[in-house]
Amino acid sequence: MTERTVRVVVAKPGLDGHDRGAKIVARALRDAGFEVIYTGLHQTPEQIVATAVQEDADAIGLSVLSGAHTYLFTRVLELLAEKGAEDVAVFGGGIIPPEDVTALKAMGVKEIFTPGASTQDIVRFVREHIRAAV
């Protein structure tokens, strides 16, 4: 059986409109051969989790630059658990201070990329840590 391509939902949760990073990451992952679903802006955590479940995604990448990361990441994790979709890995990035990075990782977020991270770092992370669900 051949392994199918890893499928990643890249999403902008909340009201934040800063989409430069999310779009670059979406494109870099696509160029690296992953299947990418970019949700567009202003998504609620409910919409993002619904998309991930519907698309049978292996991971969700969240981009938040508005300071609302703690609420939004937590909510996405909760909703995944409610839907029995804890196997969907959550990672993300944005303007996120170090203390919050530690707290989010402790809650189950797999990785947080902050300013200065390269697209290679992010591609490498997905390649090494995200597996396609069989």
Binding site: L15, G17, K23, L65, I95, G116
Partner: protein, 549 residues
């Protein structure tokens, strides 16, 4: 004296053959090739009066005012806003006490997207990226003890700018300040929202109609107010080149002028109050050239395309801000140096006002200490370096003038293309500027990743991270407090009155009547920002962006 070509053959090339130049790309950040030398030959065919002109005279390349900084220094305007209205009010007072000369307000995401603090979509975002405001009561606390007849205030708010203007004027009225004494600026540039900053309620056409309502209303009743700040900043921060920033911003400006003319307004009646806002990035000369080219292009468009006759209508007055996207999280103190150099470019470019970013903004909103360094940077420039003694000190530089011409020509090419598509609204519908910016942002990132472009402290001169810097934390209790306050406030209002005002607003939206007078009455009766935005949503529908990446 021999020419440049002869110099190259005789002196330069033999030298380079023995001692090669550094293996870097000799080109600007926008990709404009930079030659080893510029001489008077590069300016041949340039007529001083035609291309430059004296300061305060057409085409304003050298500056929009006859005395520039000899008369009045640029306005030092630090963008501030976080937490509750009283938190931001305290920061405002601190900045004024430190010698800042104008206010600039950052609103939180719910306010920017048309939701009250107590709306479910506001959860987690209240007071985080700016100050939380839902009703006139919040505006009153935000500007408490600040004399609105003396201090000018800039507000970075767009799809809900009409509500903010109504609330600001209502506060002025309560302070006993007549509207004709109120000065300030609403960002209110919806076109660049669709292109870059991405905060919106309704689609471009109704959005521009509301902008036009505000242009018309302020021209009549608030003559010292700039109803729109046509902004390249967000376009650049979203990843455009300097040329794209220049071109798309001016194309947005042309669209607003056309909309106001279609409304039947006289060009010289509103054009003097259009203002601009540009990013000041790392490429020192390119940024100075960009501001100079912007002034020349705008003056020509106003005069030649729109037949403006007042010089004030042709003056491109601009706010500037150092480039947030150039700041690094690694070795954050380096950002102080970047900001200082960018600020110098803004001043040598002839900006009317400037915000200098704080070194800690790649981590969070700035602390008071970081903001103070940023403000002091401007004060050092203004009062220690003597760069503000003469007007346009770099004017006449062979390189800078050539670069200014190149920027102008490259921007014109884009503008012609957008004209050909039927103007900026059509171009946005087609996703054209959005795609151009996304492509430029991706190219820029790849150059960074491949180390083709040096980012000090990130891809070169890397150090193990030192102790983390101190950063501003917004107490989670702020959100709960604001939700509770807004709820209590709404419960205490005369709801029948509010309903009536909202119905009137809906009617005004539908029948094409200027929304501003109705809005001012509505906010005075305590209709909230979210409720007013709901009317916009119901009447005009929600915008859905084409997804381009």
């Amino acid at each position: 004296m021999s020419g440049k070509r002869e110099w190259e053959d005789r002196t330069y090339k033999p030298f380079v053959a023995k001692t090669p130049e550094r293996p870097v790309r000799f080109e600007s950040l926008s990709g404009i090739p930079v030659e080893p030398l510029y001489t008077p030959e590069d300016l041949e065919g340039t007529t001083y009066a035609d291309r430059l002109g004296h300061p305060g005279e057409y085409p304003f390349t050298r500056g929009v005012y006859p005395t520039m900084y000899r008369g009045r220094l640029w306005t030092m305007r630090m963008f501030a806003g976080f937490g509750r209205p009283e938190d931001t009010n305290a920061r405002f007072k601190y900045l004024l006490a430190q010698g800042q000369t104008g206010l600039s307000t950052a609103f939180d995401m719910p306010a920017l997207m048309g939701y009250d603090a107590d709306h479910p979509r506001a959860r987690g975002e209240v007071g985080k990226e700016g100050v939380s405001v839902s009703t006139l009561a919040d505006f009153e606390r935000l500007f408490a003890d600040i004399p609105l007849g003396e201090v000018t205030t800039s507000m970075t708010i767009n799809c809900t700018a009409s509500v903010a203007l109504a609330m600001y004027l209502a506060v002025a009225e309560k302070q006993g300040v007549a509207w004709d004494r109120v000065g300030g600026t609403m960002q209110n540039d919806m076109l660049k929202e669709f292109i870059a900053q991405k905060e919106w309620i309704c689609p471009p056409e109704p959005a521009v109609r509301i902008v036009t309502d505000m242009i018309e209303f302020t021209a009549r009743h608030v003559p010292r107010f700039n109803p729109v700040s046509i902004s390249g900043y967000h376009i650049r921060e979203a990843g455009s080149t300097a040329v794209q920033e220049l071109a798309f911003t001016l194309a947005d400006g042309l669209a607003y002028v056309e909309a106001a003319l279609a409304r039947g307004l006289d060009v010289d009646g509103f054009a003097p109050r259009l203002s601009f806002f540009f990013d000041i990035h790392n490429d020192f000369f390119e940024e100075i050239a960009k501001l100079r080219a912007a002034r020349r292009l705008w003056a020509r468009f106003m005069k030649e395309r729109f037949g403006a006759t007042k010089p004030e209508s042709m003056r491109l007055r601009t706010h500037t801000q150092t480039a947030g996207a150039s700041a690094t999280a690694q070795q954050p103190l380096n950002n102080i140096a970047r900001v200082a150099i960018q600020a110098l470019a803004a001043v040598l470019g002839g900006a009317q006002s400037l915000h200098t970013n704080s070194y800690d903004e790649t981590w969070a909103l700035p602390t008071e200490d970081a903001v103070t360094v940023a403000l002091r940077t401007q004060q050092i420039l203004a009062e220690e370096t003597n760069v503000a003694l003469t007007i346009d000190p770099l004017g006449g530089s062979y390189f800078l003038e050539t670069l200014t011409d190149r920027m102008e020509a490259a921007a014109l090419e884009y503008i012609r293309k957008i004209d050909g598509m039927g103007g900026m609204i059509r171009a946005i519908d087609a996703g054209y500027p959005q795609k151009e910016i996304a492509d430029a942002a991706y190219r820029y990132q790849l150059m960074d990743d491949r180390r083709e472009k040096v980012v000090v402290g990130v891809n070169k001169y890397v150090m193990p991270e030192g102790r983390p810097i101190n950063y501003l934390r917004i107490d989670e209790a702020v959100e709960l407090e604001q939700i509770e306050k807004v709820g209590r406030f709404k419960a205490a209002r005369d709801t029948a009155k509010v309903e009536r005002r909202l119905t009137q607003l809906g009617d005004a939206c539908r029948n094409g009547q200027n929304v501003m007078p109705v809005l001012i009455d509505a906010v005075k009766d305590y209709a909230s920002l979210g409720e007013i935005s709901d009317v916009y949503r119901q009447v005009f529908g929600l915008y859905r962006e084409p997804i381009i990446f």
